[in-house]
Amino acid sequence: MPETRKLNYGEAVNAALHRLMAELPETLVYGEDVGLPGGVFGVTRGLRKQFGDRAFDTPISESAILGSAVGAAMMGRRPIVEIMWADFSLVALDQIVNQAANVRYVSGGRLTAPMTIRTQQGNAPGACAQHSQCLEALFLHVPGLRVCMPSTPQDAYDLLVTAVHCDDPVLVIENRTLYFGAKEEVTVGGPVQPMGGARVRRHGSDVTVVAWGAMTARVLDAAEALAADGIEVEVLETPWLNPFDTEAVLASAGRTGRLAVVHEANVTGGFGAEVVARVAGAGVPLLAPPIRVGAPDVRMPAAPILAQALLPDADRIAGEVRALVKG
């Protein structure tokens, strides 16, 4: 029985977790501070109370957290583990890349690893270089993983539900600057959505801008500003990055004849390169060379005044897209 609730992004994640724990008895939720304290961002609040020891705190041991999730998933549990910051996954990447991603393939499907890794990433004001990275491109280069990055409360809810129902390892990369955003109408309790798919967040005919994560809202702001200049931007959000909806991007870019990809991650080696390479490889005729907008190839400084000079914001995005359209 689907119902509508006013929830912000963090609350939507929390609602999804409650639903999943209730409907899938094989789920477990654990990680650092996620049990009794309810998570450093409050996102797992209430689970311990309602579901007892199916929600618990762990030592600061990312290899043990991720590795035990692999083992529990092999045995039929459906663990939902949290890595507090995506940056911290780097102390234990082996368990994701060399372990979780191989389970199904090597065993020919006789063993599987239906686990969900919730994490969050990106810069927030004052965060240092070790707490600011956008690492989705690393995970997207690893066959055997699924990866998504919701940016709206509805997607925060839906994608997590889909992820946990998926029989393979899925990374759900959230964003702490979104947790406490505005409340929106969120449909909860509806059917599990299929994995994949893009979202046309705004229709436009002059240029296609593909974006994901925290950049989506900035791209929409930029599109608004550009509309005032008479430039109509089609904003295509791709919250699912693996599987990635290449068709939607090709179709939109084919229609508008121009392509920009915007992500918060560093440009070089970012997933924007993959998107551009797919469009180029498909031979979609473009009126101008495609552009990528992201953080320049540099570490992230802590001082907001320095970080702001690096992170794409609506102004910079609008400027680059305007230049793309106006030539």
Partner: protein, 315 residues
């Protein structure tokens, strides 16, 4: 009593005969790539697997052939796996160092040092919720004791009193480097105290000692007593991998090793107890014959089909 010991001998000979056949096939060509034999270490898998229950989970390393065999994985399907045949336990996808056969209670080898330990914790954790009486056994070498993941796993298991048995096969070398040079105190079992769990250094070449200690640890684990670390002292009679020149061996070392290796030792014990030599030696012949048959069958099987190489990545 001598019956059980003969059964142990047979199980150990199966492992050794399997490994020797693998070496032959590796040197002759049909098996390719890096292969890590467990010759000399057979008493550990044989003693341990004897007391495992079907519901228990077992995680080994790249040096895992003996563990898989002792756990009941058919030799033919293992040969086939190493030979890249369709009939291999993973159809050739795992190979010598990374195959898995959960249907036999063998939850896989692992080629990343120490990585199986946290995974075993998860298998044990799952048992808390699924109503099974599962314990998990994770096997690793002396060198793996210095890997971060093993430390995290030991603390995780101890803190949550998970039913895990940490089996450290201390064969005195990490690849080509003596473990004694890489630690300050060489009794690795003593590290268990750091986590508040029991740790025992045992004779890993004595199948009976291994059986006793693993059974005891499993009982403790299943009675909610938490994990145990067993440091099983043993030695490879072979190189780290097939092709290892073993330049690191000290004078006399190999003689000493051979004098106390588990099969020769059990054989001597049986003879001393009056079991007729032909009865004892028939065991070896039987094991070798079984492995020849299994290898021949595997060699006759079709190769894995390249058209399937992309299958089973996702659900």
């Amino acid at each position: 009593m001598s019956e059980r010991r003969l059964a142990d001998l047979l199980a150990m000979w199966r492992v050794r005969a399997f490994e020797e056949k693998v070496r032959e096939l590796r040197l002759a060509g049909p098996i390719v790539g890096s292969v890590h034999l467990c010759i000399g270490q057979e008493a550990i898998p044989v003693g341990a697997c004897d007391v495992l229950e079907p519901e228990d989970a077992l995680f080994a390393t790249y040096r895992g052939h003996g563990w898989a065999l002792a756990r009941g994985v058919p030799a033919e399907r293992m040969f086939a796996e190493l030979l890249g045949r369709e009939t291999g336990v993973n159809g050739g996808r795992g190979g010598s160092a990374y195959f898995t056969a959960a249907e036999y209670g063998f939850h896989g080898e692992n080629s990343i040092v120490g990585a199986g330990a946290p995974i075993a914790c998860g298998a044990a954790l799952a048992g808390r919720y699924d109503g099974s009486n599962r314990a998990a056994v994770t096997v690793f070498g002396d060198g793996a004791m210095n890997q971060g993941a093993v430390h995290e796993a030991m603390n995780f298991a101890a803190a949550f009193s998970l039913p895990v048995v940490f089996v450290c096969e201390n064969n005195r070398y990490s690849e080509l480097t003596p473990i004694a040079d890489m630690v300050r105190t060489s009794r690795l079992a003593d590290r268990a105290a750091a986590y508040g769990m029991p740790g025992y250094r045992i004779d890993g070449n004595d199948v009976e000692a291994v059986r006793f200690h693993v059974r005891d640890a499993l009982e403790v684990a299943k009675e909610n007593g938490g994990p145990t670390l067993l440091e099983c002292m043993t030695e490879r009679i072979v190189g780290h991998y097939i092709g290892d020149a073993e330049n690191y061996r000290k004078p006399g070392e190999m003689d000493r090793i051979r004098a106390r290796e588990p099969i020769a030792r059990l054989r001597a014990g049986l003879l001393a107890d009056g079991v007729p030599a032909d009865e004892v030696d028939a065991v070896e012949a039987r094991a070798r014959a079984e492995m020849e048959t299994a290898a021949a069958a595997a060699l006759a099987a079709p190769f894995a089909d390249p058209a399937t190489a992309r299958e089973h990545l996702y659900a």
